[in-house]
């Protein structure tokens, strides 16, 4: 049999069928994290520190434990690792410290104890009876202050080998990369601009709070239902934190009500399991919104210095950036990612970037859509815009002049394979939006953006049924329509209708390990594995046809859902449809299924270009986005409607980050805006329609050419909007969010 490895003409891929789970989601039938119950179930609640930094002197839960409705109280002593006797290392230790404080509460909202009771109200009431004695310590929440010599130390010894000697202990990781000679490059420049920028921490803002239902017995066997982007990482982490064997904990992913990176780790799940083990009953634990804001991962805040030199013709001669990222009271702020992505769109001779990972008394940062990249793009693309303005150059032309292409050495090291940045810029230049006239008070901004994309550990199984339908089992939770993409890719290979394929997100006991739904990897990696699993099944279908026809399998090929003889010498047989082979597969060799598992490495980097028009009201400082166009390379759009949806969603989150969203801390180190009324994400009346252009420059690393599309869409908006607002207001905006008070202040100083 012959199978082409790569494909460019499609029957199903590129169409826009209804998603398989659509009915469940418009009728209220879909089961999200908080929608599951169990017989005998208890309700959990978590007590959280009101202090930004405090030593936990004593916890007295006796009054809570005395209540008849209370069935268990847990503290750090109920986990696998206790203070002064560490058994966990690295990220497991960090996650344990985060889900239940040890010696110290490290931020406002840090969990210190939890209860399980017969009702949610009883659990909440019981929390009030737990007495915690704190010794309040000095705190720091700002990134620059956290690096200063007199800053309070969050945790000694948290820094790794990368940090140069002499830095404050709150600096825990250091990254430096680049190539060429930046000093020589700056000497060649006609104009050098050097400036500093800041962005605030923002939350992923998924509408579904974290929720789980846990059951763990004294025999170390457990069941966990939770809303997560990756149930295998939840399984592995919870097992480590509870001190049980990984395989004894079966984790099922619920439907997930948004994640954007924030559900790639665990927060309440280990606590619910510990409560369940102690009470010997199932425990449901659901966060409220305030807990989500105070205790789950926002993105990092950033302070950045950029210096770029340019010739009069727009050639960038040298670029340098220093990126300081604050990621809460644990290592993990993506200073390295910010540094590596910041200049990645450009083919630079001389470039140097430095990233710092800095700890402060804030919640542990979590991934947020292209983690680290939007902040760096904001700073770099703002300076590029200013260079264009001062040199009188067109911002798209300048980006085209410097754009990276196949063969360019990336600012972060590797040499690019086929990439689509130039194509997005050319599409921007040709788009009617770019040449549309602006009204008075409006400004236009553009920006490019880059994200790496990711492959990751992936495993998919596909089984055929006797009626010729197929079930596909994937391990990556469907956060935005991926069941539809998987079914389209399987249909393409098998040659059976899309509707005849059912895609299921399998639990951890039903499939091998799968990495999280992150890194824009699902359509790429689970898609690749689905295609290969389907091809594996097709090989078997061809073998069965060969048996039926009595010819060698090499003489059978697969076309349009049928086995056919591969040429005139193979014999004269009518095409044999898939359903005719599966109908009697029990008699021709047994069940037919396909499987594939790998860690694919060819994710294919991704670029986008955004065009934004903004209008600034000089009276109030309010900004309105009047027009928005996203142009991004998808490699190959499997389901174009859901690709557009990713572009639009990324842009909308970027608009919130640029204009309004921020974590606001008081001098007491407490978060002041922990509900949606005060942390306002964009609502329908804030936004225009968001136009999209899907550019398709196939990724050589995927059989159908797919590049992930989920994350790149949030990289350009911060910069594109800042450029639009700066051009509208006539003053360079260097701090995000560009909230009305900031804009009024900037206008005043103009």
């Amino acid at each position: 049999m012959a199978l082409d490895d790569r494909k460019s003409i499609f029957s199903f891929v590129g169409t826009r069928p209804d998603r398989p789970d659509g009915l469940d989601k418009v009728t209220g039938r879909a089961k999200f994290g908080a929608d599951m119950s169990a017989p005998g179930m208890l309700h959990g609640a978590i007590l959280r520190s009101p202090h930004a930094h405090a030593r936990i002197v004593k916890i007295d839960a006796s009054k809570a434990e005395a209540l008849k409705d209370v069935k268990a109280v847990v503290t750090r002593a109920d986990f696998a690792d206790v203070p002064f006797k560490p058994g966990l290392e690295g990220e497991f230790y960090n996650v344990l410290e985060n889900v239940m404080a040890g010696e110290k509460a490290l931020y406002d909202g840090h969990a210190v104890a939890a209860v399980a009771a017969t009702s949610a109200l009883a659990a909440r009431d019981a929390l009030k009876l737990i007495e915690v004695e704190y010794e309040i310590l000095p705190h720091v929440t700002d990134v620059d202050k956290a690096m200063a010599p007199d800053a309070p130390v969050i945790r000694k010894g948290a820094a790794d080998y990368s940090v140069p000697a002499g830095m404050h202990p709150n600096v825990v990781r250091y990254h430096e990369s680049g190539h060429g000679d930046v000093e020589a490059g700056f000497a060649e420049a006609d104009l050098i601009i050097e400036d500093s920028f800041t962005t605030e921490a923002t939350h992923q803002g998924y509408i579904e709070p974290h929720a789980c239902l846990a059951s763990l017995g004294m025999d170390g066997k457990g069941e966990l239902w939770c809303t997560t982007q990756g149930h295998w990482i939840a399984q592995k982490t919870c097992a480590a934190l509870l001190g049980i064997e990984t395989s004894q904990l079966r984790v099922t992913a619920s439907e997930i009500g948004g994640g954007f990176g924030g559900k790639t780790t665990v927060f309440i799940e280990p606590v619910a399991l510990a409560l369940s083990r102690k009470a010997n009953r199932p425990v449901k634990l659901v966060m409220n919104r305030s807990e989500v804001f105070r205790a789950t991962g926002p993105t990092a805040s950033a302070s950045m210095d950029i210096k770029i030199g340019m010739k009069k013709d727009g050639t960038i001669t040298a670029a340098e950036g220093i990126f300081r990222l604050q990621g809460g009271a644990f290592p993990g702020a993506p200073g390295d990612m910010t540094a590596m992505c910041a200049f990645a769109p450009y083919d630079l001779t001389n470039v140097r970037q430095v990233g710092y990972d800095v700890m402060a008394n804030r919640p542990k940062q979590a991934a947020y859509r292209a983690p680290g990249a939007p902040m760096g793009a904001f700073a770099v693309e703002s300076v590029l815009d200013e260079l264009c303005n001062q040199l009188g150059l067109d911002p798209v032309d300048v980006r085209l002049k410097n754009a990276a292409a196949e063969g360019s050495k990336a600012s972060y090291g590797p040499t690019y394979e086929r990439i689509g940045l130039v194509e997005t810029l050319e599409a921007a230049k040709a788009h009617p939006h770019y040449s549309a006239p602006l009204k008075p008070g409006q400004g236009r901004g553009i920006s490019c953006g880059f994200w790496f994309n990711h492959g990751g550990e992936t495993s998919v199984s596909l089984a055929l049924s006797e009626d010729g339908s197929a079930q596909v089992m994937v391990g990556t939770p469907d956060i935005g329509g991926s069941r539809a993409s998987m079914a389209l890719m399987a249909a393409e290979v098998l040659g059976i209708p899309y509707e005849n394929i059912r895609v299921t997100v399998a639990d951890t006991a039903s499939l091998g390990y799968n990495d999280v739904s992150h890194g824009s990897r699902v359509t790429y990696a689970s898609g690749l594995a689905t295609i290969k699993a389907a091809r594996h099944a097709v090989e078997k279908l061809c073998e069965r046809a060969a048996v039926k026809w009595g010819i060698p399998v090499e003489a059978v090929k697969w076309e349009n859902g049928c086995a056919v003889p591969s040429g005139p010498n193979a014999g004269d047989f009518d095409p044999l449809p898939l359903a005719d082979i599966t109908a009697d597969m029990g008699a021709t060799g047994g069940p037919i299924s396909g499987h594939f598992e790998a860690t694919p490495e060819g994710a294919g980097v991704s670029f986008g270009t955004h065009i934004v028009d903004a209008e600034v009201d000089p009276e109030t400082g309010k900004t309105s986005i009047t027009r928005y166009t996203v142009i991004q390379d998808a490699g190959k759009a499997i389901h174009p409607t859901y690709v557009e949806g990713q572009y639009q969603g990324g842009a909308a989150q970027g608009i919130g980050w640029a204009l309004n969203e921020e974590y606001i801390y008081g001098d007491d180190g407490r978060l002041q805006n922990s509900i949606f009324l005060d942390y306002r994400i964009p609502v329908a009346s804030d936004l225009p329609m968001i136009d999209t252009v899907i550019v398709e420059v196939p990724n050589p690393g995927h059989p159908f050419g797919v590049r992930g599309v989920g994350e790149t869409g949030i990289v350009p908006p911060l910069a594109a909007i800042a450029n639009a607002v700066s051009n509208a207001a006539g003053v360079r905006m260097k701090q995000l969010p560009m909230s009305p008070p900031r804009i009024l202040a900037a206008l005043k100083e103009k």
Partner: protein
């Protein structure tokens, strides 16, 4: 605290439950009646994921107490379809991919249905302001607004 007995009508069915006076209507729908379509996204009336109608009026069920439902007519997302026939809004939401994760969708559908009952011919701006109480973090609202506007046009043609 002793519980109170409540008799109410949900999606046309008469139902009864006992509730603590502190429990919200949303708690009662989800935990006592097993109607988990309405979601708690915030508990403060800011996100609209718990939207239901009470005697025809659009409310956040997290802001109303369970005891206040006594004698009222409640409609939830579970009651939008007519038996096995989806409401046109439900069909258009699937067709337009007006949802990604789908957790805001029940509230958005209840709110959009309420809009079209009051205003069969909304402008885009009116639709955007009516739905401003329903947060969606995935879609940027573009496809939601298109689905609502197209449903409105289709319903006008049909009437």
């Amino acid at each position: 605290m002793s519980k109170l007995h409540v008799t109410t009508t949900v999606n046309g069915d008469e139902v009864e439950y006992l509730c603590d006076p502190r429990e919200t209507l949303l708690d009662c729908l989800r935990d006592k009646l097993n109607l988990t379509g309405a979601k708690e996204g915030c508990g403060t009336g800011d996100c609209g994921a718990c939207s239901v109608t009470v005697d025809g009026r659009l409310v956040c069920s997290c802001l109303m107490l369970g005891v206040e439902a006594d004698g009222k007519q409640i409609e939830t997302v579970e009651g939008i379809a007519d038996g096995d026939v989806l409401h046109p809004l439900q069909k258009k939401f699937i067709e337009y991919a007006a949802l990604q994760c789908g957790v805001c969708t029940p509230g958005v559908l209840v709110a959009a249905k309420s809009l079209l009952e009051k205003n069969p011919d909304p402008t885009e701006e009116e639709a955007r302001y009516w739905l401003a109480g329903n947060l969606c973090r995935c879609t940027g609202y573009d496809k939601i607004i298109r689905a609502v506007m197209d449903t409105a046009a289709e319903l006008r043609e049909a009437s």
